[in-house]
């Protein structure tokens, strides 16, 4: 596969790893937060940690839209399906998220809710066209990558004059998440989470461009390297970060130049501004209320806002007391620090959000990393 296979070459990986090893300063460690869930997945799936020198420590950040989705919001989706009896269109990622009363969208489906798993926002719109007599609600999640398609279908629905289509908008913003990490006491004042730089998200950046990260580099003096999705991209980005740290620089660099420009996709950005506006505040699971971090549907498209249409109220639902997802999402704790990790909380029975999505730090560690901590010997 073009532009994929070349970026997964094992030999080049080893060469880059060796180069990283050569450029490391002997007297320090390097802590980089990889923000994007896709990067978490790539690191786990390709075993990148095995290739990196131990002085490099990768911390998983809150870049997983499923992981940061509050239980209360999933409850809204379930309420719409079970009580208002709408067709609830959702991406596959959300189906198993455990919500209140032991329910999930999948369990609601077993109780008779009309849950439609879709691959694309366009499918949700098509569902509405095919069932003109029934209400269809699209439960939209995602960072800036996934937001433009939602904006498109809302605009299309308006153009077609559909009266049976609406959206629950849970779209969140990357820069806000990064700010909340950088503002957290553990990073800012206490220094309990040493953070030397960020591996910036790949596909979010194709939409928003590299410009928005310049703020972090300036304000917080942390280097950011936007990295492509493939394992070689990640390794190259780490090399670039090491160099910045060694040089004492704090700049925004772009490793993913084949798809990311400084300004990003203007057309998509304009579309998003036309349909959405900033919410003053939004709850992020594990991070609490974060100001100006999420989007709501504008008044001009109010007819397509399911929260208005169905008079929905989001309840705050607390996480299980033993759940450490919040600390893990902020990079303060590691999955193994959580009391219930691997025992009560497993991918089969996820208690917290970090275990639900395969991008979540806990799920990734459980599936891919756990074994490293247990000695294994092969038979003679």
């Amino acid at each position: 596969m073009r532009y994929i296979d070349e970026f997964r070459d094992g030999e080049l990986a080893r060469a880059i790893a060796a180069q990283i090893g050569r450029e490391l300063r002997a007297d320090r460690r390097y802590h980089f937060m990889e923000f994007c869930g896709g990067h978490t997945h790539a690191i786990s799936r390709y075993g990148i940690t095995d290739l990196l020198p131990p002085a490099i420590r990768l911390i998983h950040g809150p870049g997983c839209p499923v992981c940061v989705l509050p239980i209360g919001r999933v409850d809204l989706a379930i309420e719409l399906a079970l009580e208002h009896k709408v067709w609830l269109a959702t991406y596959g990622d959300c189906l198993r998220v455990p919500a209140s009363e032991g329910l999930s969208l999948l369990k609601a489906k077993a109780r008779g809710a009309k849950i439609a798993m879709i691959y694309s926002a366009a499918d949700a719109l098509e569902l509405a066209r095919r069932h003109p007599g029934e209400q269809v609600v699209f439960f939209a999640i995602g960072f800036e990558t996934t937001t433009p398609p939602t904006a498109l279908v809302i605009r299309q629905a308006a153009a077609e004059g559909l009266t049976n289509f609406s959206v629950v908008c849970n779209h969140v913003l990357t820069p806000s998440a990064i700010t909340s990490i950088l503002e957290s006491p553990e990073v800012r004042s206490l220094g309990t989470v040493p953070l030397d730089g960020f591996i910036g998200p790949a596909h979010v950046s194709t939409v928003i461009g590299s410009a928005p990260y310049e703020h972090f580099a300036r304000e917080y003096a942390k280097p950011v390297v936007i990295a492509g999705f493939e394992p070689l991209d990640v390794m190259q980005a780490i090399l670039m970060l090491v160099r910045q740290v060694n040089d004492g620089r704090a700049e925004v660099e772009n490793e993913f130049t084949r798809a990311v420009t400084r300004d990003g996709n203007g057309k998509a950005q304009a579309l998003v501004s036309e349909v959405f506006e900033l919410r003053r505040s939004f709850e992020w699971r594990g991070l609490g209320d974060v100001p100006y971090s999420a989007l709501a549907i504008r008044e001009s498209y109010a007819a397509f806002d399911a929260e208005r249409k169905f008079a929905l109220e989001t309840r705050k639902v607390a996480d299980n007391k033993a759940c450490e997802c919040g600390a893990i999402l902020r990079g303060v704790k590691h999955p193994r620090d959580c009391r219930i990790f691997g025992t009560v909380c497993t991918p089969e029975n996820p208690i917290g959000s970090c275990m639900v999505s395969s991008e979540g730090a806990c799920a990734a560690h459980y599936s891919y990393g756990r074994f490293r901590e247990i000695a294994v010997k092969a038979a003679a």
Binding site: L12, Q19, G38, T145, L152, Q236, T257
Partner: protein, 73 residues
């Protein structure tokens, strides 16, 4: 987050519709979020929409950068 793949545009249809190819598998997608896409171009595909064009020259440059590792002192 954001599972997205680089795919090749093999056919441009009506409106914003296009057909792309990845490793011999074809799919119908939408070009509504991008402009000036021609057959033969590569785009980054996410949830059925092209998000941006892939720049082949930059891709080559990046690969060359990877190859530098091991050559440097």
């Amino acid at each position: 987050m954001c599972l997205a793949v680089p795919v090749k545009v093999v056919e441009i249809g009506e409106g914003d519709a296009a057909t792309v190819d990845l490793g011999g598998v074809r799919k119908q997608i939408s070009l509504a979020l991008v402009e000036d896409v021609a057959v033969g171009d590569y785009v980054i595909l996410h949830v059925g929409y092209a998000l941006t064009k892939l720049d082949p020259a930059e891709a080559e440059r990046t690969l060359a950068l990877f190859a530098e590792a091991g050559v440097l002192p």
